[in-house]
């Protein structure tokens, strides 16, 4: 038996975000929300572990009430239950406040976990910090950039392959542990009809700040050591050099630039 918590985030489908040509602001209206892709990989990995060893998979998320849709999607993949932390007090949290909130919920509702799985990063903010900070809050070890997981429930350990900058580290670690997983670990399944129907009857537990308790000043914007002072569109990129003359001249100018920028270098054999 392996009890797993998968932390997921509902994110805007970043590929669908468009820039308003007049204001240059990101247009979020009408952009569909999806389950963060790396988190979906986490759900799939949890399901595979459960299929081997049994146990329970809880989906945990923090977000507005609409995030329920993302949780239903995870449930329809075959996970067992879901908790959504939803309260205005939680809003505008940075990664530390988010990690605090999620860690507290884990302590309160699912403290019998063996594994916590998080996606490597969310495609909206791309910080890749929250998972690690949850582990630190819970005082458990973590491993990032996980590309392969083997679980040994009886020995209370995992053997993990972690890929960093072209190197694979094989690491043994004790349970409980938090893993952040990334693309390439698995291919998330499509929900089947029966699980979809079943998921419709599963309850999503929605927890507000009062229920979660603790020091309310540690949640949301109040509990966040960082805050966003300003958001603005990036300055337009300066126009490039366009050459239309004699190919030989254009090419030699290009080669000079590339060599100067060290983009082509003499090969050292």
């Amino acid at each position: 038996m392996v009890n797993i918590i998968v932390c997921v985030k509902q994110v805007p489908d970043v590929a669908e975000l468009k820039i308003d040509p007049l204001t240059h602001n990101v247009v979020r209206e009408g952009v569909p929300s999806i389950v963060n892709p790396d988190d979906r990989i986490g759900v799939e990995e949890a399901l595979r572990i459960k299929e081997k060893y049994g146990g329970r998979i809880t989906i945990l998320s923090m977000g507005p009430p609409q995030a329920k849709a993302a949780l239903f999607e995870c449930l329809s993949m075959g996970t067992d239950d879901a908790i959504l932390l939803s309260d205005r007090t939680f809003a505008a949290a940075d990664t530390l406040a988010t990690a605090y909130t999620l860690a507290r919920a884990i302590k309160m509702y699912r403290n019998d976990f063996d594994l916590i799985i998080c996606g490597r990063r969310a495609i909206d903010a791309e910080t890749g910090q929250t998972g690690i900070q949850i582990a630190e809050q819970l005082e458990i070890p973590h491993l990032t950039y996980v590309k392969n997981v083997q679980v040994f429930p009886d020995e209370k350990k995992v053997v993990v392959r972690r890929e960093v900058e072209g190197q694979i580290e094989t690491i043994e670690a004790p349970i409980p542990i938090l893993l952040t997983v990334m693309e390439g670990l698995n291919k998330p399944r499509l929900p089947n009809l029966r699980e979809i129907i079943k998921s419709k009857k599963k309850e999503i537990r929605v927890v507000n700040a009062t229920e979660l308790g603790g020091d309310l000043s540690l949640y949301g914007l109040k509990g966040s050591p960082t805050w966003v002072a300003k958001v603005y569109p990036p300055p337009p990129k300066p126009g490039g050099t366009i050459k239309s003359g004699e190919p030989k001249e254009s090419v030699s100018e290009l080669i000079n630039i590339l060599a100067e920028k060290k983009l082509i270098v003499k090969r050292v054999e």
Binding site: A99, E169, T226, T241, K243, S244
Partner: protein, 346 residues
């Protein structure tokens, strides 16, 4: 669970100095860390604080001189056998002790995979803020660090401020320039490292080079070259392949090229294909439709070759050659081979 420290409790004035965390890569301090020394100097005028490089590792004291030559005014060295290979546990324990003893106002980390891991854990342990993957830094009138980072894949920039201390930032490699190295005097402080085997909760069993599978190289490669319909036929792809081999690029393709089967489907760059952001990107015979653009526009330097001067690609490339690719491309291949010492032509 540890209680959070309320920001009001932090006496901001007592935190002074800029720390640059130096990551080792291939047996030497990594360029991205040296760039941060450069960044610190840029901010020095407004911050007026001492710049300290902090280096952790097995035998790393010898690099203090190099760090000084790139701008470190002080170097803190922590050496231990258990720091020979990066682990969150050991590195966080040692670094957090150094930071708490010295109380710098700023800690910079390069936004590399392991440093992002370390910085996240450090921030959680010290209960302070961390701005991830910043591309620019400023100091405002209150001597606060303004941390500028892209959101939504670069569609927005946001300015982050940190209420707590130290202000921690991971900075994208390449965002700042290294200083010209010059010999400088440096104060080196060696710290005593207190690490016990039980501090390491995880155990590294093996480290090996990762095999690149399938089209994995495309998203990892420093140079990507993509072929478009300008090649006209499958046979003509040969001159593309020769170029790719010479310059050492990962081959990609636009959607129509993939559809025609000239290049494998898993090499499609763009919407419904892969998103790449290499240092150098070649768009060859590609008009630059929006679908293609979303897959490559974050590349650092974009070179476009197309015979249509009105092709949209010329609006967002860094260097564009309007001309017949069948003339231009072999010339580039030839020049590249010359520079690379002909080793690729065999």
């Amino acid at each position: 669970m540890m209680a959070q420290v309320s920001s009001a409790l932090i006496d901001i004035q007592s935190w002074r100095g800029v720390f640059v965390y130096v990551e080792m890569k291939d047996g030497k301090p990594r360029d991205a860390s040296l760039e941060l020394l450069g960044a610190s100097h840029k901010l020095k005028e407004s911050l007026q604080e001492e710049i300290t490089a902090v280096i952790l590792g097995k035998d790393v004291a010898e690099f203090a001189k190099i760090l000084a030559s790139y701008g470190a005014e002080k170097v803190i060295v922590a050496e231990h056998d258990m720091l020979g290979h990066y682990t969150s546990d050991a590195y966080t324990k040692v670094l957090s002790k150094i930071v708490l003893e010295n109380k710098p106002s700023v800690v910079f980390y390069p936004a590399t995979p392991n440093c992002r891991d370390l910085a996240s854990k450090m921030a959680a342990r010290l209960k302070t803020g961390l701005a991830a993957d910043c591309t620019d830094l400023k100091v405002n009138g209150n001597k606060q660090l303004v941390q500028i980072r892209p959101d939504f894949g670069g569609k927005d920039l946001s300015e982050i401020l940190t209420k707590t201390r130290p202000q921690m930032v991971t900075v994208r490699p390449g965002a700042f320039k290294k200083l010209q190295p010059k010999d400088s005097k440096v104060r080196v402080q060696k710290v005593k490292v207190d690490l016990k085997p039980e501090d390491m909760r995880v155990k590294i069993l093996n480290v090996e080079k990762a095999k690149i599978e399938g089209s994995d190289d495309l998203v990892k490669s420093q140079i990507v070259a993509s072929a478009g319909m300008g090649f006209g036929s499958r046979e003509n792809i040969a001159i593309f392949e020769e170029f790719v081999k010479a310059i050492g690029a990962s081959p990609g393709a636009s959607r129509p090229v993939v559809e025609r089967g000239w290049i494998a489907r898993d090499r499609q760059v763009g919407q419904s294909g892969k998103t790449v952001a290499p240092k150098l990107y070649f768009a060859i015979g590609i008009s630059g439709s929006v679908q293609h653009r979303v897959g490559m526009e974050n590349s650092e330097f974009i070179v476009a070759i197309n015979n249509d001067p009105n092709a949209p690609i010329f609006k967002f490339c860094n260097f564009g050659i309007v001309g017949d690719l069948f003339k231009v491309l072999p010339l580039i291949t030839e020049e590249v081979k010359k520079i690379k010492g002909n080793s690729a032509s065999s």
